[in-house]
């Protein structure tokens, strides 16, 4: 094991001069500085290494998801530094990554625990920025954390590459100039699912929603209700369930009496495992209502979590950002690389954070600078391919990635514990596109603000 030097000292030496000159006077940069700008922004790397901050849930209910993210990050760092088989670097349409790190600097990283709490996540991110000199923060497994850390990075002048966050708010009403999201969102789930559902279950359906009682739940319910009602479905009722609920029996039991023939579970993670298990327990899927088979829908699937629901996921529709069974070159390369190293296929969380790391590195290379504003400019409106999900656009107006969305279904005859979902349809990107000022995305008021390079 080679002994490597932490970068912070060099980093902060520059800061020390700034500090000596007076208490942190904010300096405004214009674009011309970026071209040769290797200082004048937060944590500008001065040595021959650069530090990234991987901020993932390592304790709490999403710890396994966080662990998978961390594996993908380690893999990405290895590939960026020229190790391993390069993963998706050869398939990535932009060719600036050559195994020499980022902008010629070797990539190092620090890790932290978000605990899936915004306070802890911000504490961890601040320690990465203040103590370790991280130039970019990435990760997370919930929208609450993503929004909180994104706001922090905006203040600190650091780029934030969001991990798993599905709420519209992250790139909707809470969007920030320094924050970028590769993962899809509630609106896209609704838009992708609705036609498939109408196809499979008919246009004359009555839906009953159970919704997790917090921001992500609200945006998902809104998106799915609008999309399915657009297809002709009727929404019978929408009931909010507490986040801390573990037994959903009292919410599930009345569903049959309501006359609904579809149950939509706007739940994620542990909530989703429990509500789905309970719904199947109550025999909902064996019932016929209004002359049709009763159906259950889970708008957002997480394969890792879905394992907890066991056989209950069979035949249940949902959407997902990415799945390892995709057959494009990028996905195949990533699955091979990840699977060879760790012995099992990557999750969608792993995929999204791997992509985010590569996208960041590539943007820095193209900008020729680590300056967050230069990086943001390089990412805005960037079109790429070869990272799974087909052709993708990082939209300039809201820093949301637009790409194909997968509609999946629980597999009837899984061959292994990883083989839970099968892809029903790859919804083309045009179908999930929306205007940047869409009402579900915070309307006209939502603004990115100015990019902040820090000082």
């Amino acid at each position: 094991m080679s002994k490597s030097k932490l970068t912070r000292r060099g980093v902060l030496k520059t800061g020390a001069y700034a500090g000596a000159a007076g208490l942190a006077t904010p300096i405004i940069f214009d674009g011309s500085v970026w071209a040769d700008g290797h200082s004048g922004f937060t944590n500008a790397p001065t040595g021959d290494t650069v530090t990234l901050g991987f901020n993932v849930p390592q304790s709490g209910p999403y710890a396994d998801e966080g662990a998978d993210e961390l594996r993908a990050y380690e893999l990405a760092v290895e590939h960026l530094n020229g190790g391993g088989d390069g993963g998706m670097i050869p398939t990535f349409s932009s060719k600036t990554l050559d195994g020499t790190g980022i902008n010629g600097k070797k990539v190092e990283y620090v890790t932290g625990d978000t605990q899936t709490k915004s306070d802890a996540a911000r504490a961890s991110a601040r320690s990465m920025i203040e103590k370790d000199g991280a130039i970019m923060i990435t990760g997370g497994s919930s929208s609450g954390v993503a929004v909180a850390v994104q706001a922090l990075c905006q203040e600190a002048g650091i780029i934030f590459m969001a991990g798993l966050t599905h709420s519209n708010d992250t790139t909707g009403k809470d969007r920030k100039a320094n924050g970028f999201r590769h993962f899809f969102n509630s609106y896209m789930s609704g838009a992708a699912l609705a036609p498939v559902l109408a196809n499979a279950y008919g246009k004359d359906r009555k839906a009953y929603h159970l919704t997790a009682d917090y921001n992500w739940g609200y945006t998902t319910e809104e998106a799915v209700v609008q999309a399915t009602e657009g297809m002709g479905w009727e929404t019978v009722n929408a009931v909010k369930t507490p986040l801390t609920q573990t037994d959903f029996s009292s919410y599930i039991a009345p569903v049959l009496q309501s006359g609904a023939d579809v149950l939509v579970l706007n739940h994620y993670g542990g909530n989703m495992v429990n509500s789905l298990t309970n719904a199947v327990q109550f025999g909902l899927r064996d019932k016929e209502v209004n002359g049709k088979n009763f159906e259950i829908v889970v708008p957002l699937y997480s394969r890792l979590m879905a394992r907890g629901a066991g056989a209950n996921v069979k035949g249940i529709f949902g959407s997902t950002n990415w799945h390892w069974s995709l057959q494009d070159e990028g996905s195949k390369a990533f699955v091979k690389s990840f699977g060879t190293k760790y012995g099992f296929p990557p999750s969608q969380a792993a995929h999204t954070v791997y992509c985010q790391t590569l996208l960041y590195a590539d943007a820095v290379n193209r900008a020729g600078s680590f300056n967050p504003c230069a990086v943001a400019e390089a990412l805005e409106g960037f079109e790429f391919d070869g990272l799974g999900n087909g052709k993708t656009l990082y939209r300039a107006e809201d820093h949301q990635c637009f790409k194909d969305v997968l509609v999946v279904k629980g597999k009837e005859n899984p061959t292994s514990e990883f083989d839970l979902l099968e892809i029903v349809e790859v919804t083309p990107v045009d179908q999930v596109m929306y205007a940047p000022d869409h009402p579900q995305m915070g309307g006209a008021e939502a603004t990115l603000g100015e990019c902040n390079p820090g000082a």
Binding site: D213, T246, P254, N274, Q281, T415
Partner: protein, 343 residues
């Protein structure tokens, strides 16, 4: 009407879980005077007894199936459980499927041992220490137990279904004269309720009708006098701790088909079970059971769509609201005794 009956059933079911955990907790409170923050962890360990047995019964050898491919395109490795080899695939599969009920037998000795080890190894040194110290040490223990389970089983929930014969639901409404398809209830939840009723009755009978139980009850009432009478109350208290652990553990085993267990399920129940015990009244076993069912039923009613429409957010706070009202109107909860944990 049918909606109300349905929610009463749900309430009884939730209440069973609350009551079982609270029963053990209040036994430890009452007999040993210890605030046991690790009680939720005992519930969790019970649930993982079921998981462990499922894994043990499912332990398997690996064969390579050349006809199928795994995710990397290599020949698929198929796990064949040994029980399939020994009893044939059909019998083998059903043995694994029955692992949750079988885990009851498996869990009793394990929980007995865990309870015994906990009391002798740790808790007994804290009888004379302030409650604050008890909280810190049992909380620390709960974290350690939880993290050990997480290290072995991961953080995600693990599916532990009930045997096929006991999954599914039946039309309870039709049985009692309602229209068909109005009151559908899962078998396993009724089994859980019946099981809880059996365990609670057994504990009460044990305390009421055996000499051992009599001494323990005497010890709960006045520990010093019992000691003066020359009875080794400590040994019995150890036994009581083990029994409380078994009750919590069995509650956990039986709970696994209702919700897939994960390592923090104990913490999720912990606070709730404290509320149940205190609402029931300190030092009262019937109080804990009563409060468990009462809160379970009220929680179920509060989650009805009509009620939530009327008072938004009521389903979020109902348990705590009821707890406040009861504690303000009845100073020692429903059936609490004077002087227990009041200072």
């Amino acid at each position: 009407m049918d909606a109300i009956i349905l929610q009463i059933l749900n309430g009884l079911d939730k209440g069973s879980a609350y009551a079982l955990i609270a029963l053990g907790l209040t036994l430890i409170f009452g007999t040993l005077g210890v605030v046991n923050f690790a009680h939720g962890a005992l519930f969790m360990i019970g649930a993982f007894c079921a998981v462990t047995l499922q894994r043990l019964l499912g332990s398997s050898r690996t064969i390579v199936d050349e006809t199928q491919k795994d995710f990397l395109g290599n020949p698929l490795k198929v796990e064949v459980p040994y029980v399939h080899d020994w009893f044939g695939p059909e019998m083998g599969a059903s043995i694994i499927a029955w692992s949750v009920p079988l885990a009851i037998l498996f869990a009793i000795p394990i929980m007995m041992f865990v309870g015994f080890a906990m009391e002798r190894g740790l808790i007994k040194h804290f009888y004379k220490r302030p409650h604050a110290d008890q909280i810190l040490v049992t909380f620390g223990l709960a974290i350690v137990l939880q993290e050990v389970i997480k290290a072995f089983y991961g953080a995600n929930p693990i599916p532990t279904p009930a045997p096929p014969a006991l999954t599914g639901a039946f039309d309870f409404g039709a049985m009692i004269g309602f229209d068909p398809n109005t009151i559908i209830y899962p078998y396993w939840r009724l089994i859980y309720f019946a099981f809880a009723a059996f365990v609670i009755t057994a504990v009460f009978a044990f305390l009421q009708f055996t000499t051992f139980g009599m001494v323990v009850r005497a010890g709960m009432a006045d520990r010093e006098t019992v000691g003066i009478l020359g009875i080794d109350i400590d040994k019995r208290f150890t036994m009581m701790f083990a029994i409380a652990a078994v009750v919590a553990g069995l509650a956990g085993v039986m709970y696994t088909p209702i919700n897939s267990p994960n390592y923090h399920m104990g913490m999720d129940f912990l606070v709730l079970s404290f509320v149940v015990v205190v609402v029931g009244g300190m030092g009262s076993l019937p109080g804990a059971v009563l409060a468990g069912f009462l809160l379970g039923i009220l929680e179920s009613f509060a989650s009805m769509a009509a009620v939530i429409d009327l008072i938004p957010g009521i389903n979020q706070i109902i348990i705590y609201l009821v707890a406040i009202v009861i504690l303000l109107t009845r100073p020692r909860g429903l059936m609490g005794r004077r002087g227990v944990m009041e200072d």
